[in-house]
């Protein structure tokens, strides 16, 4: 395969030397990345494990190695192999964008770049035909064919951001780790995930935009339509709102669920057009380049966060134009952040009580054992000024906390009269005990409401408990 590829390369050079387009030679652009990283178990947040993964990267410019952000969280040592030889070069992560699932690495050592050639990113996404997938395996390039299944507007692997996603069918095994996908000599994208016989590809067209934005001095980031909707297919629904048309628009059911923006739209609005594109009753628009797509990807396809997008909506029995200021994706604005990258889990141990902020990774760690109430709150919007929730995730038994041993996964409302949004609030509240005591109050719908602890003895108890249970630190804020 390598031989024939080399042959093909030579042949292409012979034929087209004057055009100046370097034919594809993956050996001089494709690299293997070894990522050594810290991983955390949110159920024992004070312990850190070590893990190593291998993925792929490709040169897209001087000192720019492109890969997906997936799997890089917690990394502290990235090494890169080129040309299939065993030499590992130390790499530096220039930036990681978890919203986009794109990362750029550099190898500071000059030798690395010798004989290496960047590839071109395809400007458009192919919609049919065959593609080639490449990766390093055992010091040789593995090439696999992939057949395009379809192009759609989908969710990023590492965030809720919507963008174009290409789905392909291939027999390649254990893929989804940024294997590079080419259409002839153009990089079409990187694999983002793998199912049985199918792969999703993060298109180069989207990657190019993300890379370009990062070059700007002020990157506005990726936008996200922070609202939910249902299809406007039922004629009675449109008619009940006085809209005498069929199969147009979607009806907004929730605005600002991710805490990004409540501006512009209202529940009950029928969205008829976005950015001049008609929205059909299944939430699709006709993209000038790619045909019918769900409108979710419009947020990233032609706009950046902060830009105003013109919406034509049906509200109060008439068509209206509203400017929707596209909010930027931001996990931290959610009441319960869905994802958390490159940061150890936060916790605070006070008198054996383990407090943790409620977030996506914690819920994921609990899996099916997650109490219904935690799941319920994780889906609620921010209201009554609360910016986050803290959970008493468990108790490390000790004389100090006698009687509370069985308490776990209880959501905090107040400590010593102070509303609890985050661990800093817990610290501040504990600094102001109610006389001799700490009075903890859980959410009104919890199975237990009240708890009292000795404020004076707490510090000594914490020290003792942390030693007994061999926990390196009483807090990680």
């Amino acid at each position: 395969m390598i031989k024939s590829l080399a042959g093909l390369t030579f042949f292409c050079f012979c034929l087209l030397p004057l055009v100046g387009t370097a034919a594809l030679n993956t050996e001089t652009s494709l690299v293997e990345i070894e990522v050594t990283k810290k991983v955390y178990d949110y159920r024992t947040p004070w312990f850190t494990r070590n893990e190593q993964i291998r993925k792929n990267g490709i040169l897209i410019g001087d000192n720019q190695i492109l890969t997906t952000a997936d799997g890089l969280s917690g990394q502290y040592l990235c090494r890169i192999k080129k040309g299939g030889v065993s030499r590992q070069y130390l790499a530096e992560v220039l930036w990681i964008d978890y919203y986009a699932n794109v990362a750029i690495l550099d190898v500071p050592e000059e030798d690395f770049w010798e004989g290496m050639h960047p590839v071109d990113l395809a400007k458009t996404v192919p919609q049919s035909g065959e593609l080639q997938i490449y990766r390093w395996r055992g010091g040789r390039i593995e090439e696999r064919a992939a057949e395009i299944v379809r192009l759609y507007s989908g969710k990023s692997k590492s965030s809720y951001v919507q963008h174009l996603v290409l789905s392909v069918a291939s027999t390649i095994q254990s893929a989804g780790w940024a294997e590079v996908v080419f259409d002839e000599d153009q990089l079409v994208g990187l694999t983002a995930s793998a199912g049985t016989d199918t792969l999703t590809i993060l298109p180069a067209q989207f990657i190019a935009k993300v890379v370009e934005n990062h070059r700007k001095s002020e990157d506005a980031g990726l936008g996200y339509f922070d609202f939910k909707y249902i299809f406007g297919k039922n004629p009675a629904l449109l008619a009940s709102k006085g809209l005498d048309q069929r199969d147009v628009g979607v009806v907004v059911t929730e605005v600002g669920g991710k805490g990004l923006s409540k501006e512009g739209l209202q529940v009950g609005d029928i969205i008829l057009e976005i950015d001049g594109f008609e929205i059909d009753s299944e939430g699709k628009y006709v993209d000038p380049d790619y045909g019918r797509l769900s409108f979710g990807c419009l947020a990233t396809r032609a706009h950046a966060a902060g830009e105003e997008i013109l919406f034509k909506i049906w509200r109060d029995g008439k068509a209206q134009q509203v400017n929707y200021k596209l909010p930027g994706a931001d996990f931290d604005k959610d009441l319960i952040p869905e994802r958390r990258y490159d940061a150890p889990p936060q916790y605070l141990i006070g008198g054996g009580l383990v407090f943790q902020p409620l977030n996506g990774p914690l819920l994921e760690a609990l899996g099916k054992a997650a109490p219904v109430l935690l799941e319920y709150y994780s889906r609620q919007e921010r209201d009554d000024g609360r910016e986050g929730l803290v959970v008493l995730s468990g108790v490390l038994p000790d004389d100090f906390n006698l009687g509370y041993e069985g308490m776990r996964y209880l959501l905090l409302d107040e400590i010593n009269g102070r509303k609890i949004n985050n661990l800093d609030d817990v610290v501040a509240a504990m600094d102001n005990p109610d006389g001799e005591f700490h009075r903890i109050q859980f959410m009104p719908d919890e199975r237990v409401l009240h708890m009292v602890l000795d404020a004076e003895e707490m510090e000594a108890a914490t020290t003792r408990i942390v030693q007994t249970y061999r926990i390196p630190s009483a807090s990680q804020l």
Binding site: F231, G232, A236, A239, Y376, M451, D454
Partner: protein, 482 residues
């Protein structure tokens, strides 16, 4: 020789007499032919199936058995001991909360020659008891003996959201034993009723204190059930908490953590963080238990001795002062939806949209993976909403259980298992609310709003036409049952 013959005849006769006077004479076999409703399509009922259980004759020509033996009954047949003649019986009173029922038999000849069994007291732990019943469907009575292993408050699975006193024994209690008497010294000391998965050689029977409560309750020809004080009691062992409440560091007193809804009387008389020192004159331990006939059991057992509308005497400590509180207790009829139901669910069909009451039975009918099929919001409505306030506690959420597809609703964008929150601007928190909102009908449309925030609509005239067509098409007896 003659002597020997006479002696053996006497022996045989005496044996026969002893046997004839035994409790088995009073133990009956029950066959129950049942039909259960479908919780998603509530007009449908399951195919008829038969179940077997046991029962025993008590005072007043009645048969006592378990509620679960006679639930969902369409036809109830009872058999006397060693008598093949079937007698038809009917349920006179049924208490799903305590899993007890009494039956009557129209043909009173059934009771001829059958002595009523006397109901005794709570047996002592380690004493021997004998169960009588018809396990595994046999026609011959079966006896098993064992000791009373322990006496504790246990969850009664018939309703599932109730816990009452139960006695554990190592006498084998198997399906079919249910409803049979547990005998000690010739008296009934319990009614066999349930096992526990994962617990070997352990069966449970309903103790006489629960039986007496049930029988006393029905004396006025109406079954109310076991009242509830509406308080959640937490143990009070943490030294700091005891100090904060002005209590000595001993093992007396448990804490009222929260007062539930809807218990307005309790809200008037008790407060959060009241310390429960005594219930019915018995000292409450710091773990919330009382010494009850030599057993340490949850203090709720004393609340379960009181009848609906009666009061219980409590001694509480509030702000360092001891208070005597006479707390009236009532049956909480509002917690029905969170426990198993034994009435066919109400439903209303609107343009092919089937609305019914959210219940644990409804969720249970969604199959093994029901947790994956319903949103946490829906579960919250069922289980947690009642913690917030009285109004929420009285709510009976309405769920869209099914859409019978019709050209007028085929594109209805909200799927089944969604909770309805509004119809034409009227808030919906019960089937009655839905009925009332539908009856207003001064709009061209039915405008639905669901808990998720989604709105949908049906044209009223189209919906009515669809209903007519659909009930005919699917042989639905009526568009509603409330």
């Amino acid at each position: 020789m003659n002597h020997k013959i006479i002696l053996s005849i006497i022996l045989v006769l005496s044996l026969f007499r002893v046997a004839a006077a035994g409790p088995e004479q009073s133990v009956v076999q029950i066959t129950n032919y049942t039909q259960q409703p479908d919780w998603v399509e509530p007009w449908r009922f399951s195919p008829v199936s038969g179940g077997l259980g046991s029962g025993f004759v008590i005072e007043g020509q009645r048969i006592m058995t378990n509620a679960h033996v006679v639930s969902w009954s369409k036809q109830l047949i009872v058999y006397r001991y060693q008598d093949p003649k079937p007698y038809q019986a009917t349920v006179e009173y049924i208490g799903h909360d305590c899993d007890l029922a009494v039956l009557k038999v129209e043909d009173t000849s059934f009771f001829e020659g059958i002595p009523a069994l006397e109901i005794g007291e709570l047996p002592a732990v380690r004493s021997t008891v004998t169960t009588y019943g018809y396990p595994a469907g046999g026609r011959q009575i079966s006896y098993t003996s064992g000791v009373v292993s322990r006496i504790e408050v246990q969850r009664y699975v018939q309703k599932y959201n109730r816990s009452l006193l139960a006695v554990q024994t190592d006498a084998a209690i198997n399906p079919g034993n249910s409803g049979g008497p547990v005998i000690q010294d010739g008296k009934v000391v319990g009614v066999s009723f349930q096992g526990k998965p994962g617990l070997e050689n352990a069966g449970f029977f309903i103790p006489t204190v629960v039986i007496h409560h049930f029988l006393e309750d029905i004396e006025d020809k109406n079954y109310n059930g076991f009242p509830d004080a509406g308080i959640s009691i937490q143990k009070l062992v943490n030294p700091a908490y005891r100090k904060a409440l002005g209590l000595p560091q001993n093992s007396v007193g448990a804490r009222v953590d929260v007062i539930l809804h809807p218990f307005p009387e309790t809200h008037k008389l008790l407060q959060e963080n009241d310390v429960l020192l005594e219930v019915s004159g018995k000292e409450v331990g710091s773990d919330g238990t009382v010494l009850y006939h030599g057993n340490r059991v949850a203090s709720s057992v004393l609340f379960d001795e009181v009848q609906h509308g009666e009061s219980i005497m409590l001694k509480v400590l509030r702000d360092g002062e001891e208070l005597d509180v006479e707390l009236p207790v009532y049956v909480n009829k509002e917690d029905r939806i969170s426990g198993n139901q034994y009435e066919p669910p109400p439903y209303i069909i609107v343009g092919g949209l089937v609305f019914t009451e959210l219940s644990s039975n409804y969720l249970g009918s969604l199959g093994r993976n029901w947790r994956d099929k319903v949103s946490p919001e829906t579960l919250y409505e069922l289980v947690y909403q009642n913690r917030l306030d009285e109004e929420s506690a009285r709510a009976k959420p309405v769920v869209l259980s099914k859409i019978l597809k019709h050209s007028s609703n085929i594109d209805f964008a909200v799927g089944s298992r969604s909770i309805l929150s509004e119809l034409n601007g009227q808030e919906i928190s019960s089937m009655e609310d839905l009925k009332a909102a539908l009856d207003i009908g001064d709009d061209e449309f039915y405008r639905f709003r669901f808990l998720s925030g989604a709105e949908e609509a049906l044209n009223q005239a189209d919906a009515e036409a669809a209903n007519k067509q659909l009930i005919e098409q699917y042989n639905i007896p009526s568009v509603e049952r409330l």
